[in-house]
Homo-oligomer: 367 residues x 2
């Protein structure tokens, strides 16, 4: 059921797609579908945004003479998503309508309350984003290997579900079916809570002097990176997912209170144990997070010593290519001025052992 395209990439989406909202997510979906030769039209409250996204190759502005789309993807900010879904269902009664909002229950309940016929609506949420939004940050590969949650119900026609799944698959995402409730509880935990915590932590830095901040290292940078996110967007997300977010924050508040109490009474029996228990729980929680590639078992990481001669990394990568070993990811640990660095290279687990042997044979030091 795929169609061949001019640039050679087959597409599962045999349909005319209309995207409403041409920001980071809308434009990235458009870019990805265009690479598969899908005809994508764009609409946005801002004509400038449509023009920009079209310039980036995310689609073309919709003409009045265009036939009705088969699929409408709503990629607007969360606080207008219910309105825009309702309007799309009314304007294009034969189209499947999906959205990519990061909260799924609130718009569904709002539309149900309004008595909107939701047969053709399939909620979805690609788990992807960047700190900075806008079409200018759009990337065709934003969704690659990321989960793409799809919320269907018993009334969802199979064809509607397939069409939304086809979009996810064309963008190399991994479709996962969940109920809106399951989805919202999950994102509260893995996305909304980390955002709140990163923002609150970063806000504490306003109390520090320049000298204090000058000691900042990678730990602080990592824990606060997402604190650079758009406040307006996140007020909407938190508000739309209030209950699970409050639940998570309240549990965190309890643990934080326990930690403070234990530190305030250092000589109380059990105080050190209480602190150690909280830290050990953090160890176990962190260990539950799958690796960058979804499954930590699928990939193995080689650490290869790189000295400071020019071209060493290029030589290493050329060598890997010669050995027929595909690099899935690369991280360089190299400090300016240092004599040596390390390349951490992710490869498929099954070739890792051979890669180490072959590299050693060719004179590389692996750790």
């Amino acid at each position: 059921m795929t169609q061949a395209t001019t640039n050679g990439l087959a597409s599962r989406v045999n349909a005319q797609v209309h995207i409403i909202g041409a920001g980071l997510l809308g434009a990235s979906i458009g870019l990805g579908l265009r690479e598969h030769g899908v005809d994508v039209t764009l609409e946005d409250a801002s004509p400038t945004t449509v023009a920009l996204a079209a310039d980036y190759g995310a689609g073309r502005p919709r003409l009045v003479t265009d036939p009705a789309p088969d699929l409408v993807i709503v990629a607007t900010p969360p606080d207008v998503v219910a309105d825009v879904i309702e309007r799309a269902l009314t304007t294009y009664p034969h189209a499947v309508v999906t959205d990519v909002a990061s909260v799924k229950l609130a718009p569904f309940e709002e539309l149900t309350r309004r008595g909107v016929n939701l047969t053709n609506y399939v909620g979805s949420h690609p788990m992807a984003g960047r700190e900075r939004g806008g079409a200018i940050m759009a990337r065709a590969d934003l969704f690659a290997a990321r989960p793409w949650v799809i919320c269907r119900d018993a009334d969802t026609p199979a064809a509607a579900l397939s069409l939304v799944e086809a979009v996810a698959l064309d963008l190399a995402a991994i479709p996962i079916e969940m109920s809106p409730q399951q989805h919202d509880a999950a994102v509260a935990l893995v996305s909304h809570l980390p955002q709140a915590v990163a923002s609150l932590l970063a806000a504490r830095l306003l109390d520090g002097s320049e000298q204090h901040i000058s000691l900042a290292g990678q730990g602080l940078r990592d824990t606060t990176r997402i604190a650079a996110s758009d406040p307006e967007l996140w007020v909407q997300i938190f508000s739309a997912n209030r209950e699970p977010v409050i639940e998570g924050l309240t549990a965190l508040q309890g643990d934080l209170g326990e930690l403070i109490a234990a530190l305030q009474q250092p000589d109380q029996p059990g105080s050190r144990r209480a602190i150690a228990d909280l830290l050990a729980a953090g160890n176990r929680g962190a260990a539950r997070i799958p690796g960058k590639h979804g499954s930590s078992e699928r990939f193995a990481t080689l650490t290869v010593l790189i000295d400071d001669r020019p071209g060493q990394l290029a030589a290493l990568l050329t060598e890997l290519g010669d050995l027929g070993i595909n690099m899935e990811d690369l991280r360089l640990e190299h400090s300016p001025g240092a004599q040596i660095g390390f390349a951490e290279i992710a490869v498929l687990a099954e070739v890792a052992e051979r890669a180490v042997t072959d590299l050693k044979e060719r004179g590389w030091t692996t750790l």
Copy 2:
């Protein structure tokens, strides 16, 4: 005042150095000083650790026939650091003694309370570490471009200060003078608070189902990475720096309470504003953190498109080498299965413009 060495690296440390504690920090200092040809002896409560660190090239076990060291570096866990400093000052009365513990006021006060003569003691703290400890994780470049805090007082002999500074400089670190109080307040903010927050956040994940966790993305991974740290070590650090840590956690608790209250009363006038203000404070706090290279002005980042043909990254790096452009850092954004990826390459700011022009001329796409 530098001495040439067999491997060609000059050393500022014209002294016999003895390191007590051959874990991650002690062994990394030993490795770095050995690269400069400094004679380093090692001591550890565990003979296995000394043997391992010596095998790694971090120094040699100390012999009874060895002359007294000129400099003793105490790199033990924080809860025994005061005892070991006192013993070193007694055993080697003519040596300068420093330590690398991550809290500076508590051991200083403890030693003062005991009436130890601290003239030859200079506290220090290199701001470097890894989630996993042990000699096996040691790296000569662990301290490169990292701040190395040195706490002197009015009684500190200039020669003692110089010797500790020389170690920092040989290891390519950046010496920064601070009082123990200033240091402890700074690390509470930029290191201890992030550790506590990351651990508490990661601990929340124990409540989630497998399905919840399967939606985890880079934001969660970054915010919880340091939650993998050793609980025993961190109980000692928190306990040794109780007051500034409690102060930071209490301020955080206040903000967290505000956020929860605002979310609980969504229709209260000002609730959304309160949430937005907390998030915006997080934006401003995050913006205060210097970049990976200490100064965001010194380096510029080029983003170069890499398609999925084998050897593209190797070709790009070779090209950069041909153009005489030094790569200071590299980050690859490439998802498995995606058609394209990006290489983010840090170069000295002054060559960035030329690099972009030259790469474009040679057919590369820069963003």
